[in-house]
Symmetry: C2
Subunit: 191 residues, 2 copies
DNA sequence: GTCTATAAGTCGATAGAC
DNA sequence: GTCTATCGACTTATAGAC
């Protein structure tokens, strides 16, 4: 039932904006009266909180399931592409996860946990790349660059590919800077 | 008077969040009753619209006044630093200019104009850099990279410098990619 | 668990006196 | 131009019947 309510909340957020979410609209979508929602969530912020948890949990789950190539440069491309695809698939989700759009909302420690896990997992993957020793600054620069593609895409060309098509070039730039060797050619790609 | 109301609106937005702006709070700050605001603005969205205009106008004005070094690489650093400083100085202003935080708000054509001018000015400056021919993709990549530093800074370390301190490195990376020569040493900087 | 009823408050916006 | 008065809609949230 909580799951059903959350599904409805995501749909409303996609339709009316994350800040435009109302209990009325959520209740209507699940065929309830607004007060009935309080049986399942203590307050409206608890719904935001559960959404925040759900979003990062899903990101972390999918991140854990992501199989990366052994080649370090190709792995970097994989990480970047995965993040960009996830962040561009759903605007309110992206806003909830990565921006401060809801004035008073701060995620609870329990809901914050999956985001920490996801970040640690990503850093761990960076660190385990063959043949390079990454500093914290290296990871930060990568995060900023890839996040910039997402921000520019949402802001200046939502639904398009004006910035995402530059992602490979950006990642190669960063990889060059880290001294990663060029990826070996994939067998069977050239004629 | 419009100016006074807008000043109050910015203050309220900084205090309560951009989406938390209310006519009541604005009116109280200027010593008016809420309905009196309708003498100066047709609706709440007209205030957002004027704020949007004001923000981009100021950006464009300051951009026009910005003196850049003749050296192309140093000029790139100047452009990047200017944008980052402006975007990090004021969160609601940044959200209004560069994100889609207010569900129903779309800037009017007149208010949109300064942002177009600012973008054209910036592109023009890129194009007039000595010794390189920049493509549209080059500019886009620069915009994404620099915007990423801003986004990461606001999102992960507001008020700090975890990402802004990587800006010079990022710009040099992009400049290298464009084949810009290293900046000549500034006279009198070394002992 | 869901409902009705309702509280208690907010919001943007309008009408009309002064 | 600013005010009072007020509208109508909407908000989150609670109390208590079923």
């Amino acid at each position: 039932m909580r799951r059903e309510i959350l599904d409805a909340a995501w749909e409303v957020a996609r339709r009316d904006g994350l800040g435009g979410l109302t209990l009325r609209a959520v209740a209507e979508r699940v065929g309830m009266r607004p007060p009935s929602l309080y049986t399942h969530f203590a307050a409206k912020h608890a719904i935001y909180d559960a959404m925040f948890f759900q979003a990062w949990q899903e990101f972390d789950d999918r991140s854990a399931a992501l199989e990366l190539p052994a080649d370090p440069r190709a792995a970097l491309h994989g990480i970047a592409r995965f993040y960009v695809d996830f962040a561009l698939a759903d605007l309110p989700r992206h806003q909830l996860m990565d921006q401060r759009v809801i004035p008073d909302f701060t995620p609870s420690p329990e809901s914050y946990a999956p985001s920490v896990r996801a970040m640690e997992r990503t850093v761990g993957r960076f660190r385990s790349l063959e043949g390079v020793a990454l500093t914290e600054a290296d990871v930060d620069l990568f995060v900023a660059g890839v996040g910039g593609v997402v921000a520019a895409q949402w802001s200046n060309d939502p639904g398009g590919d004006r910035y995402t098509r530059l992602l490979d070039r950006l990642v190669d730039l960063l990889a060059d800077d880290l001294g990663l060797p060029a990826s070996p050619p994939t067998p069977g790609e050239s004629p």
